[in-house]
């Protein structure tokens, strides 16, 4: 598939926002760091604001994917059958939840835990919807796996926790930095295992469709001699990434390093040296790695329609 940057930014930005919100709500529930209400209030409000900004940026990015963004409101209609439609509903619900959560904390309302619980539901629903958009397309066998859902969830949480660590470091809440860093390490390592598992699975996939089933002729040797046109078409633009296998391999090893071990190393250095800069580098590096990870997720998917477009003439 041709990776679409609008969707790459959408999924990585809202993933980080969702992970950050879950980290904030978890902090409130467990009472991490033994903070006073005044300190935790400011941190939770600011953190929620960051999550809200990231989701809004993701929402804006998603509009660039549409041919007719002015009709985007229509896309909530088919929630009974379409995961994309469900995501369109879940994302604003999540944003509304985060906004209400931040507002409840800012205004000192007592219902923050209840609002947080409802927002958590919306957050999980959003993770499921986003991942199922890809996992539910059975023709793209690289995506059609429960690992897709697990990876979106774990990578989002890892990225959000990394951001929470950075925010705790920036606001000088050193009591929160260490527990966040530990949680980030755990989630990142877990995501490393599950993303590795999906790479392992995809490397061994046997395509369900063959040239034989595509044209219905049962002969072991079939060669396409002409695809019917010499110029391009939507079929050749949308479903081929057009990059060399070497570049794909580079991106794969790039994200395997940039998302997992290197940011953890930077974060550990940042925690030990109490360096905000290192924490920022760790988050930025991981986000960059996640962009590469999502790019590879798209590029690696091989659509069965490509069987019909093997040879120009």
């Amino acid at each position: 598939m041709q990776p679409a940057f609008s969707v790459i930014f959408l999924t990585t930005l809202i993933g980080a926002a969702q992970g950050l919100f879950l980290a904030l709500y978890g902090t409130e529930l467990i009472g991490l760091g033994g903070l006073g209400p005044a300190d935790s209030k400011g941190f939770l409000v600011n953190g929620s604001a960051v999550a809200l900004v990231l989701s809004a940026l993701g929402l804006v990015a998603s509009f660039f994917h549409l041919g007719h963004p002015e009709r985007a409101w229509r896309s909530a209609a088919m929630w009974r059958t379409s995961w994309l439609s469900r995501e369109v509903i879940a994302l604003p619900l999540f944003m509304l939840g985060v906004f209400t959560y931040a507002g409840s904390h800012a205004l000192g309302r007592g219902n923050t835990q209840l609002v947080g619980a409802a927002t958590t539901l919306a957050c999980i629903a959003l993770f499921v919807c986003t991942a199922m958009i890809y996992a539910s397309v059975r023709f793209l066998q690289e995506w059609a796996s429960p690992l897709t859902l697990i990876n979106y969830l774990l990578l989002g949480c890892a990225s959000g926790l990394m951001l929470a660590t950075l925010l705790a470091g920036l606001t000088g809440l050193s009591a929160l930095v260490q527990p966040y860093a530990l949680a980030t390490t755990a989630l990142t390592l877990l995501a490393w295992v599950t993303r590795g598992a999906s790479l392992h699975r995809n490397a061994r996939l046997k395509p369900k469709s063959t040239l034989q089933s595509a044209i219905g002729i049962k002969h072991p040797r079939i060669v396409q001699k002409a695809q019917g046109f010499m110029g391009g078409s939507f079929n050749t633009r949308e479903f081929f990434h057009g990059h060399s296998p070497e570049l794909l391999l580079t991106v794969k090893w790039g994200f395997l390093l940039l998302v997992f071990p290197l940011p953890l190393l930077c974060m550990a250095l940042g925690v030990i040296a109490a360096s905000k800069e290192m924490l920022f580098i760790a988050f930025a590096m991981q986000y960059l790695g996640l962009l590469a990870e999502r790019w590879f997720f798209f590029a690696q998917a091989n659509h069965p329609q490509n069987l019909y477009y093997q040879n120009i003439s």
Partner: protein, 242 residues
């Protein structure tokens, strides 16, 4: 329930692309159009088409067959592109089973094209909406046209009559009979999409020539005894008659 569909005879398709050009002409000027061409006369032309003819070579030289393979939307009975559409722009007509896109509702998210294993849908780069074969719905339902012309443009254009059009749910229709009698098959059956369009396989062409086909039995020279009678060792044509 009616399910209109095409049945494409790979045995007689000669790969002339008349169906491609007539489809483009009809649909670019009709209700489904216009189908944009980007940079049509430049170095890298790019365009929107509902129908393509592709060519495959089957077998190894010298035992090869060149198969011309027309491909358009197959109007699946269980179309995977329809439920994924977030706006409901993509739909399957209940009355005749044609899968269509409502251009006024389409937001151009391309999700339906990902959910079609056949690559039947093409985003129109100018109008920014998803387009696809309409089975010439504006022709086949137009009662102002004579009944013989209420067929898709590609069917009318085919010079070798390789494209049949009709209701595959009616067992007496031309298409149902062709499918039943000549082993009509569906593309990529492994996905369970149940395409309505069927393809008729290649047939081995055999002719049997008898000696009497080459030589006049009632040759007057023979009757006059001036030429020896041909020794008919094989059973003659009359031996098979009725």
């Amino acid at each position: 329930m009616t399910q209109l569909a095409l049945v494409i005879d790979l045995n007689v398709c000669v790969g002339c692309h008349a169906c491609v050009t007539s489809c483009k002409q009809w649909n670019t000027s009709g209700t489904a159009g216009s189908l944009v061409d980007i940079n049509p006369y430049g170095a890298e032309p790019n365009g929107t088409f509902f129908n393509r003819v592709q060519t495959f070579e089957v077998g190894e030289f010298p035992n090869t067959q060149t198969v011309h393979f027309p491909k358009s939307c197959l109007h699946c009975e269980d179309p995977p592109c329809v439920p994924v559409c977030p706006t409901g722009a993509s739909y399957k007509r209940a009355e005749d089973g044609i899968v269509l896109v409502d251009y006024d509702k389409c937001i151009g998210c391309k999700y339906c094209s990902w959910a079609c294993p056949y690559g039947a849908r093409e985003l129109d780069e100018e109008r920014k909406v998803m387009t696809k074969c309409t089975l010439c719905v504006d022709r086949v339902t137009d009662t102002a046209l004579p009944a013989s012309e209420r067929k898709p443009a590609c069917v009318l254009a085919c010079p070798s009559n390789a494209r049949l059009f009709g209701d595959i749910h009616d067992p007496e229709s031309v298409v149902s009979r062709a499918i039943a009698e000549r082993g009509g098959y569906q593309l990529m059956p492994e996905w369970g999409t149940s395409p309505s369009n069927h393809y008729l396989p290649r047939r081995k062409t055999e002719i049997r020539i008898h000696a009497e086909d080459l030589e006049r039995v009632d040759n007057p020279l023979k009757i006059d005894g001036q030429l020896p009678e041909h020794a008919h060792r094989d059973p003659g044509r009359e031996d098979f008659a009725t």
